[in-house]
């Protein structure tokens, strides 16, 4: 999809001023994070499993070429096909060619963030092939021509009323003329509409949570069952997955599954976890006659062996965004591309460039909640700090910030000057009304005081002055 990450600040202003979005986000703060906490508490081994999950992904990344080749060998042995796509354009071309090879008119899709990353839907539509998103959240935003705002809950930014309006607008032509008010009625209507489309689709396209090298299986975790219909009803099943999805064995999958659903939605297990291995067998009564796996790199291999490699452990559970105070205030669209929240702030500069997305890693208070809940223990604040350094090195930081930092650095290297300046600032601030304990407005601080009061510095001068007055001395070890 087209990135608006460079316009992050405007996106944020829009998000903060959107009442529907703020209403939806208020539900996020209690929903996912509370359910995750309860699920983690119900499993005493949860922390040990997180360590094991981290180790499995590290091992897979260190031997990635070996496991990918092994996976390919197993898939081919069962009559399936593996296609290698170094870039997004390669993946789009491979998938379009596969669809055209069976004369496909419609493609039933289950939610795939990688397909968003390569902007697959636009490409297929331009070729006259209709992609039909079948995950309820993806279906809603496809009707609204919006990108997903969350990696596991794509329509989490919308209220029930907005969904009702969207369905009325788009389903009217199909004979659904009543505006619905209940969630279960909305779900039932979508089920009915999509069921017809499933039965007619020529190709089913899914992502994969894991590719299992041992057996050549793609593993998919869902709650709705749409992915399973996508990989069973149409005559061709295409799996689109990025290189870092490969893991060694089914035993490794068991460990990762135990942390994935609990971290994502707080479920003990998602409703459906499916292993697909090759096309239908000769005596099977259903299933696709063709099975293809498209393996996408799109810049990931260049992250291996660098300080940033840890980001490739991500299993896309969404816990980091569910627990992020910044995501909780602005939602996913403000991040401007496919992956929002802390993991988006780390992945996006890598995948589309620090020039385009350099603002995202700045949108963090470094509170550390993301790292504390990450099932594979990705040090997200550290990785964001890395991008901030790259941004600064490449002179992409705004001039005001650079000049401010240079001034501060100049003073901080000169303690006497620093103390004199901070003492002066302290007295100046006192003049502006320390009596109230806070400032409602303050010159040069409009960006802060427009939204909240600025606390006044305490009476008694600067920290240095008070330290000296109280007889503080330098302590030596």
């Amino acid at each position: 999809m087209q990135s608006t990450a460079h316009d992050f600040k405007h996106n944020v202003d829009d998000a903060l001023a959107d009442p529907n979005l703020q209403d939806s986000l208020s539900k996020l703060k209690v929903g996912f994070s509370e359910r995750r906490r309860q699920a983690a508490e119900r499993l005493p081994e949860f922390e040990a499993l997180r360590d094991a999950a981290r180790d499995i992904k590290n091992h897979a990344l260190a031997n990635l070429d070996f496991y990918l080749e092994e996976f390919e060998r197993k898939v081919a042995g069962l009559g399936g096909h593996v296609h290698w796509a170094p870039t997004a354009a390669d993946a789009r071309r491979i998938i379009a060619d596969l669809c055209r090879s069976v004369g496909a008119k419609t493609v039933a899709k289950s939610k795939s963030m990688v397909s968003e990353e390569i902007a697959l839907n636009d490409h297929l539509e331009a070729l006259g092939i209709a992609p039909i998103e079948t995950d309820l959240g993806e279906y809603i935003i496809q009707l609204r021509h919006e990108p997903p705002s969350h990696i596991i809950a794509p329509a989490v930014h919308l209220t029930k009323d907005q969904v009702a309006d969207t369905f009325l607008e788009h389903h009217r032509a199909l004979g659904f003329t009543k505006r619905l008010t209940e969630r279960n009625d909305l779900v039932a209507e979508a089920r009915h509409v999509l069921r017809e489309k499933f039965l007619k689709a020529d190709v089913g396209l899914t992502g994969a949570n894991f590719l299992v090298a041992e057996t050549g299986s793609s593993m998919l975790v869902t709650n709705e069952g749409n992915a399973d219909l996508s990989n069973t009803l149409p005559r061709m099943h295409i799996v689109l997955a990025s290189i870092e999805k490969v893991i060694p064995t089914l035993e490794d999958a068991a460990v990762l599954l135990r942390v994935l659903a609990r971290s994502a939605t707080g479920q003990e297990s998602s409703s459906y976890t499916t292993l697909n291995t090759g096309p239908k067998r000769p005596d099977d009564l259903d299933g696709p006659s063709q099975y293809h796996v498209v393996i996408l790199d799109n810049g990931r291999s260049s992250v291996l062996g660098t300080k940033m490699q840890d980001m490739l452990r991500c299993i896309r559970c969404g816990a980091c965004m569910n627990h992020c105070p910044v995501y909780g205030a602005i939602g996913g669209h403000a991040y401007g591309w496919v992956y929002p929240g802390p993991i988006g702030a780390v992945l996006t500069p890598q995948l589309i460039g620090v020039e385009e997305a350099g603002n995202l890693p700045n949108a963090s208070t470094f509170c550390g909640r993301c790292e504390s809940v990450c099932p594979v223990r990705i040090p997200l604040p550290n990785l964001m700090r890395h991008w901030r350094e790259r941004e600064f090195e490449r002179h992409l930081t705004p001039r005001a910030v650079r000049q401010g930092l240079a001034l501060w650095s100049f003073a901080a290297h000169r303690p006497k000057l620093y103390r004199r300046l901070s003492g002066l600032a302290n007295r100046l601030l006192a003049l502006f009304g320390r009596a109230h304990g806070h400032y409602r407005t303050l010159p040069l601080a409009g960006g802060w005081t427009r939204f909240r009061d600025l606390p006044a510095p305490p009476a008694g001068g600067t920290f240095h002055a008070q330290w000296a007055r109280h007889g503080g001395a330098r302590t030596r070890p």
Partner: protein
């Protein structure tokens, strides 16, 4: 498949990892891992003796919105018919063409109309067996094959599963062992579906609604000897 695209990715990975093709001890370790997969940390609740396993399976299946009953083999068909009647569901079902299911006393339920085969879009009820049950999370495991079409797990509104108590295992690892035993190491059926409760979605305001695309109702009949 373009060999250049393939080598572009694999060589890129090797370049980044500062090595050539995986070799020596590292390769042996990776091969050994595939040959004899090591298990992760044991989960205590997946290690119970058989009788407690069934109790735990039932507890988690119900926690995940499935309904569970126990029946003797001679009672299975009657329980299925009674379940449909209790829930005002049609006495018609698509049933997996499996010898396990054929052995139950369907002839004793003349009101129940059964069709054996894959599911159709118009089916309301399906009846299948299960390859295994996982006590740790109340999960059913379905292995596809001529005796178990995948569509039966997904298309109908109501899915009734007859699970043999002896097939309930502790955790996923025992399912993998059972799959290897049945299909051979490195071999898998086309599809293994693990199913934990009915289909659901939280995509509208994070409130859980059942029956998104798959079954709204999942009824499990545990058959003891």
């Amino acid at each position: 498949m373009s060999p250049t695209a393939r080598s572009q990715i694999l060589d890129g990975i090797r370049r980044s990892l500062h090595r050539g093709e995986l070799s020596g001890a590292a390769r042996q370790a990776a091969e050994a891992r595939l040959g004899a997969p090591p298990r992760g940390p044991a989960v205590a609740r997946g290690q119970l003796p058989p009788a407690e396993r069934t109790v735990l399976f039932r507890q988690w299946a119900e926690f995940n919105n499935a309904t569970v009953v126990r029946a003797a083999p001679s009672e299975v068909a009657a329980e299925v018919a009674a379940y449909l009647a209790r829930n005002n569901l049609p006495a018609e079902a698509a049933m997996a063409p499996s010898p396990q299911l054929d052995a139950y006393d369907w002839a004793g339920q003349p009101m129940l109309s059964l069709r054996r085969g894959a599911a159709r879009g118009s089916d309301h009820v399906s009846i299948t067996g299960a390859f295994a049950g996982i006590a740790e999370t109340g999960t059913l495991v379905m292995a596809s094959g001529p005796d178990h079409p995948v569509s039966l797990n997904l298309l109908p509104d109501t899915h009734i599963v007859v699970l043999r108590e002896a097939d309930i295992v502790g955790g996923y690892e025992e399912v993998w062992a059972k799959l290897r035993q049945r299909y051979g190491k490195d071999r898998m059926p086309r599809t293994v579906n693990t199913i934990t409760g009915p289909s659901r979605t939280g995509d509208i305001e994070q409130a859980i609604e059942l029956g998104a695309h798959g079954p709204r109702r999942l009824h499990i009949v545990i058959v003891g000897e």
